[in-house]
Amino acid sequence: MKKMILALVFLAGVFGGLQAQKIKGSDTMLPLSQKVAEMFMKARPSESVTVTGGGSGVGIAALIEGTTDLAQSSRKIKFDERQKLQQGGKTVKEVTAAFDALAVIVHPSNKVSGLTREQLEAIFTGKITNWKDVGGENLKIIPYARETSSGTYEFFRESVLRNRNYMNGIMSMPATGAIIQSISQTRGGIGYVGLAYLNKDVKALGVSYKSCAGHVQPSAASAKDGTYPIVRPLLYYYITQAESRSKAFVDFVLSTEGQKIVGEIGFIPVK
């Protein structure tokens, strides 16, 4: 009898584990999903949520393969990804959970305080290679980018580089933390991270998309009022046909409580 009870408890545990809702994808969204998941499980003790990163591309690939319930993504789903889902008779639902400003960061000792979009494009495509060409000291520029599976990589390329390719041999970092760490240790370094990741080890530059306008510093306020130009939506994707698996969590993110967490983390609420 005792063995039977133990077996049932074990099976319940396994079954419970299998029922855990899985969220995977964007590293930028990791702090948001983790915090929301924590609060969600507190509010609903019977629910279990696991959150992992890996990049937006990894999350969407997992959604296509059916190994995650929700993909968190800092870029829009691509045509070929939609097509892969379509081939399996699936459609996806896109939900904007928050907005994020992408901050361009440099070493704290760097005297440059702002750059235009054109200058950023020239730096990341390898046309400008020295800080003195943009008003800084005579120092080689070392640009850092995220890996190609990252939604941040894609968004920066689309918005700042106007879909031009990054320079050959650019330093490719596996995570946002790695970019912060590298730039904090490299005097000529430049990179980009989500606003929520900014800390005192790096300096955020003001950015201008119009040459006549002044540089605007990244902040939740400047992103919300539209003056800071590098702003992107943070998205959740789930399979429409399996909506019941994810809807409660997504609704929680969009609730007043969820949007409060969005603001606390440093993102811009959608409501």
Binding site: I77, D80, R82, Q83, G88, G89, N165
Partner: protein, 448 residues
Amino acid sequence: MNIIKKSRFIAHIILCLTAGFAASAQESVPTPFEKLITKADSLDSSLRILQRLKITGYVQAQYQYAQADADGISFKQHGKANAYEKSHNTDYSRFAIRRGRLKFVYEEGIASAVAQVDITDKGLSTKDIYLQVKDPISGRNMLKAGMFYRPFGHEFMLSSSRRESPERTRISQIMFPDELDLGFMLTLQPPKNSALAALRLDAGWFTGNGIRPQVVSRMDFVAHLYGSHTFGNSISIGGGISAYLGGVFQNDSSIFMMDNGKFMLHDKNANRIGRYAPRQYFGADFQYAQFTAAGLTQIRLEYVAGKHPGNAAGAYDYRFSALPAAGEIYLRPIAGGYISVAQDLGPVPLTAVARYDFFDPNTDVSSNNIGADGSRTGAGDVAMHSLGCGLLWKINQTLRLTAYYELVKNETTAQIPSVASENGSTYIAGYDSDRRDNVFTLRLQYTF
């Protein structure tokens, strides 16, 4: 001196023993955690090796119902009706494993090897076998050698598991009955940051003999220049042009070419044995796909024209296991193409499919001139038009059910001589009206 040597020897022995003892004394027993780490490392390296090998495939089981005159193009699996069905002119049906594909890909670094077999109720046959080497700098250019799809057009290279209609169009099957060919190919793509990055050139030399071994020295040149672009995540447009410049070995002194609606002996004084009859095709293809509220809409167009060698009766297949037997060659100006539309039906996992395709095996003769006395034309010169429509049910990521009906219309001719006449017209009975050759296919596909 001896004493010194002995002392040194003993000292060495003592040193070795001491060192050995010390070493074994330093060997500590690994903790369970260390053992776990070692085991995880070992499993990780094994997993990395296994990850280099990918196995994929698909199985298609199908039921087909065909009208009495259905040919092996639409009713692919078992060809025409059996003798009894033929003599009684009855409709017939077949159940078959149309395809049972198993594909192995091993990839390490810049090189990969691919092998694919087809296992069906007819037995085991070899499909793709090739190696591929990418350039180590950009990874965008590559060399491929072995047996694989010729780089011509779009439909030829579209996997059967992804195509909406059960079989390729008539012109595809006539031009390239095996789909695959033996040869080598270069793929060239401009650098990613180039303005021409969306272009791709596939060009190679192939035996032209399908999956059979090469029996003549000459190889055919095949090339496809292709470009595509996506607009946002909703629209994709692609298109390309293709060329096939090849030849078929002639083991006969005669070649007939079309002249004023008739086949005429060309260059009658020349002995053409050992020369090559031209086999040349040129094509253009276009693809459009768009996601809307109703789902994905896909449109594909393709047109091909060229010269295709055949015999008087219109047998087009020029794959040889040995040097071909002597026989007159008839060079036909051919043309064909298709338009295919697939439309998702809103939130339900259904896709409606329609395809029109045509194949004219001899563009220089039509209608009542086919089979005319002295023209040496016949059934092999009759144009065919097919209109297919169907429904795809994507049951899940791996299962797909297709129901497809193909309505085949042939060109008709009033010329109905019962036997080949002395002055050269050939047997064409049965083409004075539309033949009964429509086919219904119900196919279940599992992809893994």
